[in-house]
Symmetry: C4
Subunit: 279 residues, 4 copies
Amino acid sequence: MKGKKSHPPTWKSKLHEVIYEADTPAGRFFDIALLVVIVLSIVLVMLESINMLSLKYYWEFYIAEWIITIIFTIEYILRLIAINKKRKYIFSFYGIVDLLSTLPTYIAFAIGGHNLLFAVRALRLLRVFRILKITRYIGESNKLVNALKHSRPKILVFLFAVFIICIIMGTLMHLIEGERGGFDNIPLSIYWCIVTLTTVGFGDIAPVTPLGRMIASIIMITGYGIIAVPTGIVSAEYTRRSQDSVPTNTQVCPHCNETKHIDNAEFCHNCGKKLNIDD
Amino acid sequence: MKGKKSHPPTWKSKLHEVIYEADTPAGRFFDIALLVVIVLSIVLVMLESINMLSLKYYWEFYIAEWIITIIFTIEYILRLIAINKKRKYIFSFYGIVDLLSTLPTYIAFAIGGHNLLFAVRALRLLRVFRILKITRYIGESNKLVNALKHSRPKILVFLFAVFIICIIMGTLMHLIEGERGGFDNIPLSIYWCIVTLTTVGFGDIAPVTPLGRMIASIIMITGYGIIAVPTGIVSAEYTRRSQDSVPTNTQVCPHCNETKHIDNAEFCHNCGKKLNIDD
Amino acid sequence: MKGKKSHPPTWKSKLHEVIYEADTPAGRFFDIALLVVIVLSIVLVMLESINMLSLKYYWEFYIAEWIITIIFTIEYILRLIAINKKRKYIFSFYGIVDLLSTLPTYIAFAIGGHNLLFAVRALRLLRVFRILKITRYIGESNKLVNALKHSRPKILVFLFAVFIICIIMGTLMHLIEGERGGFDNIPLSIYWCIVTLTTVGFGDIAPVTPLGRMIASIIMITGYGIIAVPTGIVSAEYTRRSQDSVPTNTQVCPHCNETKHIDNAEFCHNCGKKLNIDD
Amino acid sequence: MKGKKSHPPTWKSKLHEVIYEADTPAGRFFDIALLVVIVLSIVLVMLESINMLSLKYYWEFYIAEWIITIIFTIEYILRLIAINKKRKYIFSFYGIVDLLSTLPTYIAFAIGGHNLLFAVRALRLLRVFRILKITRYIGESNKLVNALKHSRPKILVFLFAVFIICIIMGTLMHLIEGERGGFDNIPLSIYWCIVTLTTVGFGDIAPVTPLGRMIASIIMITGYGIIAVPTGIVSAEYTRRSQDSVPTNTQVCPHCNETKHIDNAEFCHNCGKKLNIDD
């Protein structure tokens, strides 16, 4: 249904369809091709961050860098041409990210501050969010995102409570442990407390006094106990949502208007007549 | 309804409304302003605990300290004036905390024991609980707190069982590992056991004998398996609460105003009269 | 109701009631007194395991040890007298634990091998299970234990699957990492795999090769994902159990035989007559 | 029903029944005996990987190795004889694993490269999957596997989102921490991020800058919060499954033998005839 427009498809509207929509074969191909380039550009940034590799394959990285930059530049220009509200796109989140994905290489070429611009180039990672558009196809993610959205305020309240517990317990640990074990100052103790309460437990900082270890035990058991809270929230939300989704479809019997038939039913379970007449 | 009082609002009752209540604009403003000062005072205590900063910005901290102390002092006096049952407030939890938030600075000024009073000053953190009053506005937290309250006895039983497992396993590990790997004494081994069962795993103490590692594996898998228990409890509690699956409706008995009747009830369970008169 | 017996209560049956039952004031007092002594004896064993303390307070520990041993001996003799099936008690789990709680001190006194018998004395810890009898009073724990009992087979299947994953992944890690990072042999690698999959993560062993770290990432994400399984099982079991517990009682209306009335209902919601006639 | 065959049972079909089926006493005995040998062979590979043991008990390992290899060889030949579609078995997953379980010992005997073939011999571990056939008997695992199967797409979407978070946060940590604390390159930082988000926390890499610790705190709290998501998914799926809330009954259509009809269905949804003839 979507995509049907009354005016004849000009090359511009066609370009728009290819770049911004995903329900035509060309649009889907464009999306996937772009995705591949984005992933490649991310892999490139990752590999370049490995010192050993960046020294050995300096020129290979340099050339790959330019190829990706040029592809992104062309894509940026095409996006600008295809869209009507150009200003809105330029100053949108993706507009800025798209621009920042291309600029660093040019600036580095003009001025030379390669190292400095590396950080900016890492912004390309944000383009990965475009991949998330793909997840729409999976269909499952919608329910998930919905359940999360509805759980968000409750989870935020919970995380806020967790944070307050960490502040209080962190200060307590700083007072008890002092500078033994690494609890040098309150922010550091709070950091340790978050590490412990979330059951991560790096071990770079660890209590050494008996009293400190007792408090630590309480924090750990608390963390172990209250991890139940967000889980309970999401579970309840998700259960409510998915219990509606009985394995029936919304097909309506053309004879008796009975709804909710089993997914692959051929006859209405109410009146016994065929469901799909034109088969 | 609340806030409507028959006697004309004197300046004292008005002050009470501003300080102790939160449903007037002035009251809400007071709460938020106080919250900001409390958060600032906490940030101050945190930053002051960092040695490097406290040496560099000694005077800045000193002045900020006095400003906050004076604000808290004024607040304390206003609270005393506004309330009728003064003695009850002074000896209440918040009354003592409010007093302890101001005293240390004065005592440090009079006597000089700055370091010693630092610990007392950290008590200001307890004022953060006043922030929790704010969470009432969010509304979501009520259901959460209710679910937690009803889960508490069950979770306590569970944590008690966890603690007994830790005592037994801790002793066992001490007997097996001896002083290799750091299992020097039973309390320490119990501490390690809590660290392991809650899946925190600092790594400052770790088994080194094959048998010790086998027992550790069992503890870990147990911890991984039973984390399900508190989650199950809270989930079930929360699901019940949010599904409104209590089989009652909100019908009000026209005779005795009793609410919450079973869904297909025809007579009030409180006064025995018919629920729906016009039937 | 319980405890009413037709024959007159002899001193022996009375003793039995005090020691083995808990529904009379005397029985409950005995249980709690015993519990206190058990906890004290456990604390004693714990503190004695701390080298520093055991050297400093040698005589205090020695005397306390004897007092507790004598109390336990008296208790053991009383238990023997009060019960009819003496042989069954002696060879029961608790009978053996009770005997082993007293013997070591006597043997150490006769022979002198204090250190050797410390391990046996630690068996006293098993008496802590008697504490669990107390949890019966809490009432909440029954539902919990039931939910766990019904989830047990499923959780065992799950843990079995987890163990197989650990064996396979552990072997893989040994082959990849070799002896770098500490993956010296397959059992050790399996131990590491359990530590990682259960999200404990001590850090005493950690992968150092890129490929090893990739496999480790997969193990961690798997562990993070499948922790959902036992939780889901217990949640579902517990939800089912607690959803039956609608706030109704099993009272039957004496007039119309309608069951399931709201807990404090006075009139039947079906026929409108009084529920409790003799009130 | 199963096992009833019209043709008289030849020795070959009997062999097939013993080896490939498990519903006769002989078949079950074969399965369990094989399971024991597989477990023994795995334990052998494990113990042999411990250097100390493999040197001390060289000949014992050598003989045990040969016994197991011969048993596996006989089993492989029997399997080949018993089955009709021999080619299909040889090139099936288990066929290859079964062959690879025997070959290394022969090759090591012929050529001598003992160490090199150790890795191949570890493939025997894959035979452990045959154990999983046993879990079918437990019966509980079916529901479990079903709930997991239906949760898989959602959990994959979730894990994909987790992975993207790790990429972004890992890069951020590399930019912030640089080479202090061990964040040498982006892939390593991503590895650390996975370690942290999944609450494993080895501690071999840990942030040391204040800003890095702040980001780490956010990652940890995120990980702690979103662990709720897969749990919620599996819980909901499992609750739905175990509550039997699927609105179908086990009625079988008398005309077409279609099972699973909606609870109040009167006509078969497959053939359209009346379900209950005698109504």
